[in-house]
Symmetry: C2
Subunit: 222 residues, 2 copies
């Protein structure tokens, strides 16, 4: 069986978990604390980042985008990357939006304040950085709300990698109750659809000891 | 004819210019100063980043990785993305290495100190940040030197998108003479091969007024 080296509140790891679950690919999860295990992680991936997919046949496949493009390349019944080039552009644009832009402006600073500094007691939480990342999140939520109001899914009429990447990042914010959902009704409807998929269930069961999720986090009809 | 919205000393823009030149795709270059034109850039790409490809048939295609995957999808005689999934993994891993890791640790801070602050006279150049980005560059050069010693090209026996992405980033450092080439003989041999390709010539002719390139920058056999 394959192994995914991951961290539960790491958005890119969640993105790959959603993809593998959509295709019913069974796997062991091996939790690595990315900010506290540089030696172990660099041995798996010279870039020193999660997630890393590993199995006997394929060896080590590092990085969420690399893993997801690879699964789309090899999996016969894949349905998360469109077949026409112009539709693939939109899916990849949105994946990069979340994996690059949303990650830098929201997920990384938020995880730093809410998770890394929770475990590293030497570091003081910056309420200013936390507020900034949540303010940035709501600018992004406006855009997601707009996209979700245009078509059934973020990159068109079919579910795609774009929805998985987006939901992975948003789910980490939602774990901490950081999204004012009432302001984004279209995004909320879309996120409820994502949450109701069987692939999402394992993410809703994640709990980090000492860091309880927001009360509505695991509720599909929230 | 298509247009590429770019900036001459922007590595991701150079990466796409190399790809399009490899395939002989003619285009107009439209220079946009990315840190000084947010309105114009956001109208082309909501993410507010370069490069953006534009033509009448395809509309706007934003982002280096998105553009390059799209060209590989549509161009019949493409040869820069391997056909087998396992080889594609290695090419995409290396592209992400440069577009993510090298970009954050080297290119972005270096361009900030050497280019953005050159034009923005209100900002003081940080010699500490500059030194750190160049020190990081030399850690990366060690890795590139190792890879270049293993096979003819960075991701295997054939030239690929990985070589173009790598050369695009390195060429910006080399414009400023920031690489101690004597310490990296294998990387130097590989970079000379890249520089000697016809696709590279337009990059070697780039000159930013007021910021002259290092003397060896345009010399193929340096």
């Amino acid at each position: 069986m394959a192994t995914l080296h991951h961290y539960p509140l790491h958005p890119a790891s969640r993105y790959v978990r959603l993809l593998l679950a959509e295709y019913g690919i069974e796997l062991n999860l091996n939790t690595i604390v990315p900010w506290d295990s540089s030696g172990e992680l660099v041995a798996l991936n010279p870039a020193g980042s999660l997630p890393v997919f590993q199995d006997n046949q394929s060896g080590l496949i590092p990085g969420a985008r690399v893993i997801c493009e690879w699964i789309e390349d090899i999996y016969d019944e894949s349905y998360l990357m469109p077949k026409t080039p112009v539709d693939r552009v939109e899916v990849r644009r949105m994946v990069d939006w979340f994996e690059d832009k949303f990650s830098r402006e929201v997920s990384e600073p938020l995880v730093k304040e809410r998770v890394i500094k929770f475990f590293d007691k030497d570091e003081t939480i910056s309420s200013q950085n936390l507020r900034l990342s949540i303010a940035n999140a709501h600018i992004h939520m406006d855009y997601i709300n707009y996209l979700a109001g245009q078509e059934a899914w973020l990159a068109g009429t079919q579910i795609s990698l774009a929805d998985l990447a987006a939901a992975a990042h948003i789910s980490v914010l939602d774990y901490f109750g950081d999204i004012k959902w009432d302001e984004f009704p279209e995004a909320k409807t879309w996120y409820m659809k994502m949450k109701s998929r069987p692939s999402f269930r394992p993410l809703l069961a994640d709990v980090i000891v000492g860091l309880a999720p927001a009360r509505h986090y695991a509720v599909i009809d929230f």
